[in-house]
């Protein structure tokens, strides 16, 4: 009887998941029907006019940092809150987690690997408006450097190389710089975080310094995300 009961429970779970999937498929097929042309006027406008209005070739970046820049500010605030609360709740302590001991091969490889990571992250951040990538992705790649140092050596070495006070300062610079760059739009007489409307000189599309404020916003988001994720990781790995 108990085996029958267990089989029934397993079957119940499977039927539940399958029916939920079918329900979601029907609902989303009804809402996001791609053949329906009348609901897509906004994306048509982004695709056809986005390059002339903002000056960035990458349409995703032009949406994230120009049309919907306020949402990006909200996402950055979420990360700032998480890093602040984690570093407040786990103030000090040592790395006492169990882990396999690594040999010298891994540490030497990490030494070779870190400059490559720095170049890749800088490329992703600086070319955010010309190629896929942008501030968030480049910031995460930069945050891998302290994570690798923490894994292969100890937390003490990682915090000796990248001081916690400096990381907090970098995160604050990123958050405040984003808002100050947004206030430039108000000074010139248009909206907060306005780039295309305020006419900041889109420049020649396709060059490195073009698209007005978007490269600087990318740089600020990159600094902020990198420092914040490094703080979160080092706070998670320490214990009382």
């Amino acid at each position: 009887m108990s085996r029958m009961n267990a089989m029934f429970k397993k079957l119940y779970k499977l039927v539940l998941v399958v029916s939920l999937a079918i329900f979601l498929f029907i609902v989303f097929d009804e809402i996001h029907n791609l053949d329906n042309n009348s609901k897509r006027y906004l994306s048509e406008h982004y695709i056809s006019e986005g390059v002339q209005e903002t000056g960035a070739i990458n349409i995703v970046t032009s949406v994230l940092y120009d049309y919907r820049a306020f949402d990006t500010l909200g996402e950055a605030t979420v990360l700032l809150t998480a890093a602040a609360i984690l570093s407040f709740l786990v103030p000090l302590g040592k790395d006492k987690m169990l882990g396999t001991t690594f040999t010298m091969i891994v540490s030497q490889t990490t030494k070779f690997f870190i400059p490559f990571l720095a170049v890749l992250g800088a490329y992703l951040i600086l070319f955010g408006h010309l190629a896929p990538g942008g501030g968030f992705v480049g910031g995460v790649v930069m945050a891998v450097i302290p994570i690798l140092l923490t894994i292969t050596y100890r937390v003490e070495f990682s915090e000796y190389k990248f001081k916690p006070a400096k990381k907090k300062l970098a995160e604050d610079i990123g958050a405040i710089g984003f808002i100050l760059l947004g206030l430039v739009g108000v000074v010139t007489g248009s909206n907060f975080l306005a780039n295309g409307q305020a006419n900041f000189g889109p420049g020649n599309t396709g060059e490195l310094i073009s698209a007005g404020l978007i490269p600087f916003l990318n740089l600020m988001i990159g600094i902020k995300v990198g420092a914040g994720l490094a703080i979160i990781f080092n706070s998670l790995i320490k214990e009382k």
């Binding site: 891994v106 992703l124 891998v144 894994i151």
Partner: protein
């Protein structure tokens, strides 16, 4: 060209058997590493097939994070599961 991509995806599905079956954690991590490298090759071949060099950045970033994944799994999966120590 498309047939090569199809074949590599098939090999990745074959290797996923070891992730499902494998008796211990290191088996599964090694199979995960193999599947990741195969999908990296698929990404490079797709970027040549569509003739857009932008897609090579995706392959590069994915390779970096595959290495970080394997490193951190090997560092912090240390407690053996009960009753599953063997070959």
């Amino acid at each position: 060209m498309v047939y090569f991509i199809l074949a590599i995806v098939l090999f990745a599905i074959l290797t996923f058997y070891r992730v499902m079956k494998g008796p211990s954690v290191p088996d599964r991590v090694a199979a995960m590493n193999a599947i990741g490298v195969m999908f990296l090759l698929v990404l490079v071949l797709l970027s040549l097939y569509f003739d857009r060099k932008v897609f090579l950045d995706v392959a590069l970033v994915y390779g970096v994070f595959l290495f970080v994944n394997v490193l951190i799994m090997a560092k912090y999966f240390t407690k053996p599961e009960k009753g599953e120590v063997g070959d």
